[in-house]
């Protein structure tokens, strides 16, 4: 059996796809260039009215209005949380809780005001902090770096404050520590990532807040509270806990205001809002709608607040705060000053003049930024820049004129006011258009790379298809289709490397690998083409055969049409945003249709009835009826599984009437104790049922008899794992604060039980790798009848032996001719479970993986996992039934419909384990299963969250070789029913007939080819789906929904592809490992 070439070939194909994905991603995902420049006091941006000497001491660019500022960031402070509506008689938990803000705004209308604070998407906290301090728009790709917070390189508000000698004190969310290392005069950081922890950060801040304020050793104080956000993530906004949290915030603000002096500006802001489920990250109305509250003890505003609070873009805070505190505006800011805060307490004209001057500074700064940005990057369209430039210069010109007229006092107030007003609105227009331009064009694509990536993926799909057709038919396949292309690819990489070395340019690894991939693909097609004419000539020698071949091929194509048609529908669905949104219903629909079509086709071809004449019809019918009923029952079971799995759905905001499944929330959030206990019991019982089912399956096939460590692990380790999971669930779902003294014990247990499961599962997987044999050999050669197993006395083993199928390996006798005499041939080695040794290893691996993945999900999603196992089992049975009924001549190739249905089930269960291809739907909690506090590295949480998200991809990809193995495992029942009547002696011969998986071992070449074909088919179907996603993202990149639907879908699909392909390789290599072990086992047996 060729093990390494198969794995190498598959790995190579995976590499081709990865190169394509990487190339496309580099062209598709948005990038914005960060400028290294920063503003300084000495910049020649000073407006005429003050001049340099006119500025009060400690001021830059504009006179300082406040010497101190307190910025209170309440994470996820939705606008509705901050608004107070006295008319509401029965407010929701999150409504009317910040009554103090309302009190300030009504009692001191010139001191306080509430705004709608429009956050720019993506609304992840780190992006928002970046936006709130740089005044710029972080781009889409930054979302993923929430795990790894990098220091902000761009010029920002904090850098300006520090540069101008202000003491910045920070307390709260430790994200800031990563973003602004060593910037703070004093800081109190608290871990932010554990969303289940509502109080650590807030209590920590409250402990330090008032002493720090009173000490006066600060100029700017930033406090970032996380409790509201975490409460949203844990319970959702509509929960009593949220009311408690907001009341706490209200009290905090009340006493904070008492501690403030007259020269202090207070800003209370939310970095983003939250959805109805308490999540955020996207760009829906609820997520971007945060609150901003401004207050000072000296009057700020001239006018009374408007009835409906004004909406302010989040970037506007940066220039406003910078100029109010008298520091330069950060270099890359594109925000617009909030002019009404600059009106002062003079008359209308002087207020307007002051506003004009800050607008002027602001506009100059934005103009400078746009100018230097356009020098380094070409992504801002030139004509629009020119238009902005004109707008700016004409406004500045008029500004100078107007100032001259004001100084000359040639204008009288009414006209002056109107001209001031119009000029202000021109500056406003300029600033708004500039911001709009930036928002628009930081969606910058590299069309060439996108097309290249798309082409690479498409040709890789083609290659998969061709290779899967070719692998069966040729002998020197690996040399011409693997070795030469690899050499081509290496050659291309080497050449490129050399070229780079000579030209001294930076080596772009991505480009090199995609060129190498393209070259090796070219090599494959070249060699394929070279071989093709030879085959055609061979065909040409026998003209009658050729025509028959053509007809056969046509028939084969028609047979292909129906699974491929379903695949085509699935791919087509990726091009419509509605279908992507509804994919959770599309995949099951197509799966059900595929299976129904399969049964229909079998019936249409007369496979379900006897093809004899009408006389025998009745007789034959009854004998086949059981098969039909069995198949129909399986199909019905599949349909029921598919339908039931729909109950574990997560919602997208695009479907407003959708309610997320009750099963998604953790048990801890259930308030009804009885329901909680019932659900808990149900989950545990079903989990135990899974273990029981797996064990009885293994016992049925005789894989549970040996005393190997692996089998012992299955016997004793599996229940132990279930016990640990059950304990973990019990501890995790118990109420948080009702335990009192036990709290510490609970804290330990919450960490200890997951670790026990991790440990046990990894021990199991290690055992599986070390010795995957689950075979119990009964050697009757020397001592017939005696069995040397330590646990023979165990009462259950009696039953075991009734159900095992002794597998006698025919070749054993043949190969032992030299050692054994002809007469002793009847003494044989009965190997229990040899016939299912490959599947047993896979089933054990899948169960272990299943335990791990269940642990990462919330408790009640384990039901979905059980459905997953059941559905996979039913699918495998349908597949092997259909194989048996169809009577295929080629037992070693897995038909397309099986692969496609397997993958449809995989994507169906992606949705049915509570996932959606959008960022807010990611289960971040998974990173804290077994970890109490923050992670030290980013790798581990990424792995945990990734495993949680792609759980079904992992399970189905690892289990993929079962599609090949299952029909062999299931070949037994057809002859089993005759068995009881037979004599024992006859049974021995009868048993020799069905060798199950040992048939695969009999022809190792075919086995390896079959594995390769299966892998290629799997990759082809996966790749086709990926190709559809990539094409959809490319073609529809200016679509309204691209950032909401297509881009996340593409990211999830490509990540899913990577996970699936790696897991597929792992699954196939596990089969290879078992094959190795079987070989050594046979060798040992022969030596004995």
């Amino acid at each position: 059996m060729q093990r390494w070439p198969v794995l190498l070939f598959l790995a190579w194909v995976c590499f081709l796809f990865f190169a394509g994905i990487g190339l496309f991603m580099s062209g598709f995902l948005l990038t914005r260039i960060e400028l290294a420049s920063s503003s300084s006091c000495a910049d020649p941006l000073l407006p005429p009215p003050w001049g340099r000497q006119g500025l009060p001491p400690g001021s830059c660019w504009a006179p300082q209005r406040f010497s101190k500022a307190v910025l209170v960031i309440i994470d996820a402070l939705h606008f509705e949380f901050a608004r107070f509506n006295p008319a509401k008689t029965s407010p929701l938990p999150y409504e009317n809780k910040l009554s103090f803000l309302h009190h300030l705004a009504t009692s001191q209308p010139r001191h306080a005001r509430l705004y709608r604070f429009r956050a720019d998407p993506p609304t992840a906290t780190m992006q928002r902090i970046k936006g709130l301090t740089t005044g710029s728009l972080p781009t889409f790709i930054d979302v993923g770096s929430n795990f790894a917070t990098y220091a902000i390189q761009e010029d920002n508000l904090l850098a300006q404050l520090v540069q101008n000698g202000r003491r910045v004190v920070f307390m709260g969310d430790d994200t800031w520590e990563g973003l602004f290392p060593k910037k703070f005069f004093r800081s109190y950081f608290f871990p932010s990532f554990n969303v289940k922890d509502l109080h650590t950060v807030d209590d920590g801040i409250l402990q330090h807040l008032y002493p720090t304020v009173d000490s006066g050793e600060w100029d700017v104080l930033i406090a970032h509270f996380l409790g509201v956000d975490h409460c949203g993530h844990k319970h959702g906004p509509d929960h009593p806990e949220m009311a408690k949290k907001l009341t706490q915030m209200n009290e905090m603000l009340r006493s904070l205001v008492d501690h403030l002096g007259n020269d202090t500006l207070l800003l209370v802001a939310g970095d983003h809002g939250m959805t109805e489920t308490g999540d955020h990250g996207g760009d829906s109305e609820k997520e971007v709608n945060a609150a901003l509250f401004v207050y000072s003890k000296t009057p700020l505003f001239v006018t009374v607040p408007p009835e409906e609070p004004e909406a302010v873009p989040q970037v506007n805070l940066v220039p406003t705060v910078a100029l109010l505190l008298g520091v330069p505006i950060p270099y890359s800011n594109i925000g617009e000053v909030m002019a009404e805060l600059f009106s002062g307490d003079g008359d209308a004209v002087s207020a307007a003049l002051q506003q004009l001057s800050v607008y002027h500074i602001n506009a100059k700064q934005v103009d400078r930024f746009l100018h230097s940005y356009s020098l380094v990057a070409q992504d801002l369209p030139a004509e629009q820049l020119q238009h902005l430039q004109q707008l700016f210069s004409s406004a500045v010109e008029e500004h100078t004129q107007l100032l001259a007229q004001v100084q000359g006092a040639t204008l009288v107030p009414p006209e002056l006011e109107s001209r001031l007003g119009s000029l202000i609105s021109r500056f406003q227009l300029y600033l708004r258009e500039a911001r709009a331009l930036c928002t628009q064009s930081w969606a910058r694509f590299h069309p060439l790379r996108m097309v290249g990536g798309c082409t690479l993926i498409a040709t890789s799909c083609l290659l998969c298809y061709m290779a899967s057709e070719l692998a069966a038919s040729s002998d020197s396949f690996y040399r011409s289709c693997l070795l030469y292309p690899l050499l081509w690819g290496l050659m291309a990489a080497l050449l490129l490397g050399l070229a780079h070395a000579f030209t001294q340019e930076g080596l772009d690894l991505l480009l090199v690998s995609s060129w190498a991939a393209a070259a090796s693909q070219l090599g494959f097609f070249w060699h394929w083409w070279g071989r093709h004419p030879k085959q055609a000539r061979l065909m040409g020698n026998q003209p009658p055969l050729a025509s028959a071949g053509l007809r056969q091929r046509l028939r084969a194509w028609l047979g292909l049409a129906f699974p491929m048609g379903i695949l085509l529908f699935r791919c087509g669905a990726m091009f419509s945003d509605s279908f992507v949104v509804a994919e959770a219903r599309v995949a099951p629909f197509l799966l059900a249709s595929l299976v129904m079509l399969l049964v229909g086709k079998l019936h249409w071809d007369g496979r379900l009835t006897v093809p004899e004449g009408p006389k025998q019809q009745f007789l034959g019918f009854s004998s086949y009826r059981r098969e039909i009923w069995y198949l129909l029952c399986l199909v019905a079971m599949l349909l029921i599984c598919v339908r039931l799995s729909g109950f574990f759905h997560q919602c997208r905001e695009e479907i407003p009437q959708c309610r997320p499944s009750l099963f998604l929330s953790p048990l801890a959030s259930l308030r009804n104790t009885r329901a909680k206990n019932l659900f808990y019991l149900l989950c545990v019982v079903l989990l135990a049922g899974l273990v029981y089912a797996v064990r009885s399956w293994l016992r049925h096939y005789g894989n549970l008899n040996s005393s190997e460590p692996l089998v012992l692990f299955v016997r004793w380790g599996f229940p132990l794992v279930v016990l640990c999971i059950a304990c973990y669930w019990a501890v995790a779902s118990s109420a948080d604060d009702s335990l009192g003294k036990l709290q510490e014990l609970v804290q330990v247990a919450v960490v200890a039980f997951p670790w026990a499961v991790y440990g046990l599962a990894s021990v199991g997987l290690l055992l599986l790798l070390c010795n995957p044999m689950t075979v119990f050999a009964k050697d009757t050669r020397e001592s017939p009848g005696s069995i040397v197993t330590p646990y023979l006395g165990v009462p259950t083993s009696e039953v075991d032996f009734l159900h095992v199928i002794p597998q006698i390996y025919r070749r054993m006798q043949e190969s032992q001719k030299s050692r054994l005499e002809r007469g002793s041939c009847r003494a044989t080695v009965a190997a229990y479970g040899l016939g299912s040794v490959y599947s047993a290893a896979l089933v054990i691996a899948l169960t272990l993986l299943g335990f791990l993945l269940m642990l990462l999900h919330s408790e009640r999603l384990s039901l979905a996992f059980l459905l997953l196992f059941l559905e996979a089992f039913v699918l495998l049975h349908i597949h092997s039934r259909a194989r048996g009924l169809a009577g295929d001549a080629e037992p070693f190739s897995v038909p397309w419909y099986a692969v496609i249905s397997w993958l449809l089930a995989a994507s169906q269960f992606f949705y049915s384990t509570g996932h959606q291809p959008i960022f807010p739907a990611i289960h971040w909690n998974a990173a804290f299963v077994g970890f109490h506090l923050d992670h030290s590295t980013n790798l581990l949480p990424a792995v945990l969250v990734g495993a949680n998200t792609f759980a079904s991809h992992i399970l189905f990809a690892v289990g993929c070789p079962l599609l090949l193995l299952w029909p062999f495992v299931c070949e037994m029942p057809s002859s089993q029913k005759k068995k009881p009547k037979k004599e024992p002696r006859e049974e021995l011969q009868e048993v020799e007939e069905h060798m199950m998986e040992m048939r695969l071992r009999e022809s190792p070449e075919k086995f390896s080819t079959a594995l390769l074909q299966l892998g290629l088919k799997y990759l082809f179907v996966l790749g086709t789906q990926l190709l559809a996603c990539v094409c959809a993202a490319m073609i529809l990149r200016r679509h309204l929904m691209v950032w909401k639907v297509f881009a996340p879908k593409f990211l999830f699909e490509s990540l899913g592809f990577m996970v699936s392909s790696i897991c597929l390789l792992l699954g196939i290599s596990l089969v290879m490992r078992v094959d190795c072990a079987v070989s050594t086992w046979f060798n040992q047996l022969q030596l004995r």
């Binding site: 419509s576 249709s593 249409w604 019809q617 729909g646």
Partner: protein, 219 residues
Amino acid sequence: MKEAEIRRLLAANLLCVFSIILTAVVPSFFWDGFTVLGTHLAWLCICSVCVSTLNIILHLVLKPNQSHKRSSFAHKISRFLKCCIYFFMSCILFHAIIVLYGAPLIESVTETFLLAVLLSTFTTLQCLCMLGPNIQAWIRVFSKNGAMSIWESSLQITTICSILGAWFGAFPIPLDWDRPWQVWPISCSLGATFGYTAGLVIAPLWIHWNRKQLTYKSR
């Protein structure tokens, strides 16, 4: 003989198509505000009833399967009752399958059931008329070489077309066009109806074109 039979089939099928068109048009003369989309459930009922009565009448008139045995009245009654039970069971079965395919479980049960009735009318009722309550014969007809007369070929085609039509009818439901016909189950029932009429039209034509290849085994 064959040509004449094909012509009879064509006439019968066109009559069915005509009746379906009439069900969409005629009631609006008697009932203000009747539209296929607006009062869809009513139309579903009318269409099912009309098509089934017409089919039964056509069956009685044309007698496509000449049964030579003269059966007793009691036998006929039991046969009729059996047909009713079969029809009802097929409605239930279709309902179950539609629900398993993703139709809402509890809401709009009536709609789903009426769709099931419509589908049964287009498929099961035809089978009952043509083959009687004889599952064995049904299973035979729906296999590759199972059709034994042009009537059975037509039955094959119309049944498959109606089910395919209903299947394709589910496709526009998720689209965000907000059209009245995207409401469950209108698109599916319209799809089934279009599929059925298409099948009715296609069947005689297809049989006509393939009359050389079609050689029916005698029973």
